[in-house]
Symmetry: C2
Subunit: 263 residues, 2 copies
């Protein structure tokens, strides 16, 4: 994996574009920000952008393409959003209808691509401070839960905030808040510490998405707003056509993680 970790984002994207890499992107082009993808038609793109703007913690927008342009000029000006992700999912009216390695045949002139920040960006600084990140240790997906916290509605878009959970040793909770506070544009500080019931989570052992992870004695569940929120919310209105990345198959930007810190 080391050779992929040391590649530049452009090199990894070229590999993906040539379909020489169709697996998850975790660990590739280390230090560079990976992003979630959601593609919608222009007629609902304004309301979706507004939704993200009103809910910056779960929906940190890193880049939005011009309608019809496949180039994310802000975060990867040499990339093509239609070919540079290893696996895409095509949804029609909210139903998964296809999984593909490029979307050239699905692309239309009125499509707008949203690249949304992901918590990978703050997990490295946590680990660099000696704070364990359990789902990485256990080599599984992060635990995610629907909460009773409503997002702020925008047009037809509404729904609950989805959170990701990381068990943090009691002594490290304050430091974890400080570290992630430095990254407001990739979810930022936690939105809840401790008691799952306080945000409407009935059973911490049963995540709504992702995998269950071990919570050890002396660890506190800490909850961050999660980038699954905007996809879940968009899916709920069953748009005619929506394209996303396949879970774990992210878009790799040219931006280094540290660029998203404010201090």
């Amino acid at each position: 994996m080391c050779e992929y970790a040391n590649m530049s984002p452009a090199e990894v994207r070229a590999l993906i574009r040539r379909k020489e890499w169709t697996k998850p992107t975790s660990g590739m082009a280390k230090g560079f920000t990976q992003a979630n993808l959601a593609i919608l038609k222009k007629d609902i793109a304004f309301d979706f952008l507004l939704f993200c703007q009103r809910n910056p913690k779960p929906c940190p927008v890193l880049d939005v393409t011009e309608a019809g342009s496949p180039v994310p000029r802000l975060v990867a000006p040499t990339a093509d959003i239609r070919t540079d992700i290893p696996k895409y999912r095509i949804y029609r009216h909210g139903e998964l209808v296809d999984e593909v390695t490029d979307i050239l045949t699905y692309w239309e002139d009125d499509m707008v691509a949203f690249l949304i920040g992901c918590s990978f960006t703050f997990e490295h600084p946590l680990m660099n401070s000696g704070i364990p990140v359990r789902h990485i240790e256990e080599n599984c997906n992060v635990s995610m839960y629907k909460t009773n916290i409503p997002c702020v509605q925008a047009g037809c878009f509404e729904g609950p905030v989805v959170v990701s959970m990381r068990p943090i040793p009691e002594k490290d909770v304050v430091r974890a808040v400080q570290i992630t506070s430095r990254f407001p544009s990739v979810h930022g500080a936690p939105i809840h510490i401790g008691n799952p019931a306080g945000i409407g989570i009935k059973d911490i052992a049963k995540p709504d998405f992702g995998d269950r992870v071990t919570i050890k004695a002396g660890e506190v569940p800490v909850f961050w707003a999660c980038g699954v929120t905007p996809q879940a919310v968009a899916m709920q209105i069953k748009p005619e056509l929506m394209i996303t990345h396949a879970p774990g198959h992210m878009f790799i930007t040219d931006i280094q993680d540290e660029k998203f810190s404010v201090l």
Copy 2:
């Protein structure tokens, strides 16, 4: 002025709505965030929102109304954007055609209002740390300059970043960076320290907007991205109709300044 400083935002807005206050809002409802206003038609609103999203330092969006709704639900759910600002300016094709105390007769069903953060929000924390804010001491407008730094284009919107300048004593420059870094959603950290020519400013004594202020010996000019940028950029495309607040006559939100700090 003290009675106005201690009023709640809703009380001040009621006063303005009854046209009992038609002057600048500086110092009213102390501690609550004041915002710039730009109203555009829905057909160009997506590109404008995209422009703001791509240029968050000069264009920190605090709220955007649904098309046709005059209610900024996020920052002041009981307010009416058409009546709650003391003075508005009406621009047709980029020309100032009217200055009014409400926009009820100008309001149309496809209008979208943008409320954009303003540096008032970080000036109080600066002063609370004993850092002088010269234009407040000299009771004039802040000095603003066009730079040679281009904004990231979005659709038809493009132009240079406009900056505001505050002379800061050398010993306080680091602290000023730290304090304003805490407020990324209202311009955040400075974008330049020192040498005006470095960002294309030819004569520091001749601001492009606002007033000239005294720079004392031992003080360094420090430059922050300025909320005048999005208005200047929008004006440049000469939209059919655009409505803004009159300078200094701001919208007062229900949000306390400190809510915008990330740490």
